[in-house]
Amino acid sequence: MTLIGWAQIALFFLVVLALVKPLGSYMFRVFEGTPPLPKAERFFYRLCGVDPVKEQAWTTYAFSLLAFSFFGLLVTYAIQRLQHLLPLNPQKLSAIEPALAFNTAASFTTNTNWQAYVPETTVSYLTQMAGLAWHNFTSAAAGIAIALALSRGLTRSGGAGGGKTIGNFWVDLTRATLYLLLPISFLYALFLVSQGVLQNFAPYREIATLEGVKQIIAMGPVASQEAIKMLGTNGGGFFNANSAHPFENPTPLTNFVQMVSIFAIPAGLTWTYGRMARDSRQGWALFAAMAVLFFAGVLGAYKAESAGNPALRELPRLQQDRGNLEGKETRFGIAASTLFTTVTTAASCGAVNAMHDSMTPLGGLVPLVNIQLGEVIFGGVGAGLYGMLVYVLLTVFIAGLMVGRTPEYLGKKIEAREMKLAMLYVLIFPLIILTLTAWAAVVPYGTGSLANAGPHGLSEILYAFSSGAGNNGSAFAGLNANTRFWNLALGANMLAGRFLMIVPALGIAGSMVDKKVIPPGPGTFPTTGGLFVGLLVGVVLIVGALTFFPALSLGPLAEHFAARAGRLY
């Protein structure tokens, strides 16, 4: 670890911190106040047949989201299956086979962006733009919508528009796209091009290198996809190497901006939430808990990777003083690589600028644990906020049990129904991860895809299903996930991790929204101070640790001790 490395990390955090209020206020204005372009917005509603004034109950809200996601899934599946007949395919790539097309459609619909395909040799430019980057917008906008819906459920007093409604999904989706994601992405993409990111529709270019070797260089409309890939915490790379590819992330400056853009909206939403709760400290409490968990991850990953690669330790004529550089890019080095790794897995982005599979055992443990804590450390756009709010209810409940009072949050009583839904939310996640991991670890069609032997192989499997269910999308990428079993299992895993968790979250919104608000009394447990932040962090850690520690001890932890003993596999 170096001073300049920490300076970089500090600068990153300060920039994110500085963005919280302006971006959060802007989002509050857009979603809850007076949006800036009413005419454009009305035109959009007319095209789509949306009645923007009508609010929805939670069931309708959920139905709208599920119907929209279902159509999105179908369209992306169809585009992939038909890409050989569609335009913008200069490399004449053939149709994508069904299991892979399903996996990819599920992956992008759920904001996961797990990539079982090698983009350069699999997907046409049209598929990238209209099949994949389209979802980068809509799945991000949908995530924000759900966060808003849950926030309204918790913060509305007595409920507006009939008492039981939590907003209008189509309005939230439209506003997130028109006012937030599209304009920022456009400017962001131009900045990326200025730094060297591609933006063209040219066929792959063949050149002869200085030594006369033939090299074919992949091209494409990269920057437009790259911008929303980061801003919407999607993470699906235009190229196989993702944000490690020099055409996706050419300079340390683009790398910095990419990291900031992952955290910007999730961090800003905590402020938006505080505004909705009419108490900005409620938002800062969430931010603080997220920040604590984030820094713990950065410290762990940076320290572990600075120590060098254990597999190379017994080569005495090698100097590893600059850390473990296998799977890392020179321009980023250890600090910017480990920071990116922590950011992209804390938020459910999943873009990578270094190969997580080649990180040291403890360095690779950090992204895995980040995902397994439920993607609440800033989390995906929207998803991080609604996930953390579920943990907040859990924390308030546990605190209530400890002092023997009916738990309440923002003046609303938390009762059996909300707790059942919250527990459903918390338990579905490990259930789908651990069950599928156990299955894949004992069948030949599961383990046949492993690239590494020993405990690291188990880590590859565990990482894949954690990443899928957490809708993260990064990988221990040695695993060959493009087989029938893996495509189908991970496809189902991603869909379950998204929609089986969204429905209970919206259910909580629906059951909280019309509860009476009781003014705080002397016995009210405050949900703003350091004590609450500490408890919240504790609950997130305990739930995560209790569920995943046994699996982690067989994977990364076993590998750590094996590496210390000098064992290779």
Binding site: T60, L190, I216, I217, A241, N309, A311, P316, H456
Partner: protein, 201 residues
């Protein structure tokens, strides 16, 4: 209610698809190619005769002793496949990784008899993309004796040529100092002339 929501869902699907999946990337392409045409098209560079020899952002597999050689590449079967970017994805307790590094180390020590030991580990560590266009200054300077000898010039001249091309951290704190391998090799050729092409490798 259900039918109405389904109709809306279909229409929103179509409208967002056109807006964010087609209009947005097309508009971005148009504007980007007016503002930054060379960048948008791939940052290609030409040699002194005007022949395009690669992209300054995409590494290539220099093997000749008179050139700065890059880190190992796991992109494609032979490495440096710019239509198949990839890291090795070998784990930290991988025998395959150790063996590959040991082999590379042996070759480096054999080819660079004038260079100091120990060898910087980056020279035996595959990059994340397999297309890393850079080396750290240490990794570049380490190769100076071999390049100088192959070109029949003094080590000082090669070293100062590389020194002049070290790029610092962005905004003084971001990333790491680095040397662009292709740009340095083009400069070597411009300054000292092209080495004879070695067949084979």
């Amino acid at each position: 209610m259900i039918r109405q929501e389904l109709t809306v869902a279909l229409r929103v699907t179509a409208v967002t698809l056109v807006l964010t999946g087609l209009l947005y990337p097309l508009l971005t392409t148009g504007v980007a190619n007016v503002l930054f045409p060379a960048r948008a098209q791939g940052s290609f560079v030409a040699d002194e005769r005007g022949t395009v020899v690669g992209s300054e952002l995409i590494g290539q597999g220099f093997a000749g002793e008179a050139y700065l050689q890059p880190r190992p590449s796991a992109a494609g079967e032979k490495g440096w496949d710019a239509a198949g970017s990839s890291g090795s994805n070998l784990g930290p307790t991988s025998k395959a990784l150790r063996d590959r590094a040991a082999k590379d180390l042996e070759r480096l020590l054999r080819d660079n008899r004038g260079s100091p030991e120990p060898v910087p580990a980056e020279l035996v560590s595959a990059s994340a993309s397999g297309l890393d266009p850079h080396l750290s200054p240490e990794g570049a300077f380490w190769q100076v004796p071999r390049i100088a000898q192959a070109r029949g010039v003094s080590e000082d001249r090669v070293r100062s040529l590389i020194e002049g091309r070290v790029e610092g951290r962005d905004l003084f704190v971001l990333g790491e100092p680095r040397v662009n391998v292709l740009l340095v090799n083009l400069a070597l050729d411009r300054t000292f002339g092209r080495p004879p092409r070695v067949a084979g490798k």
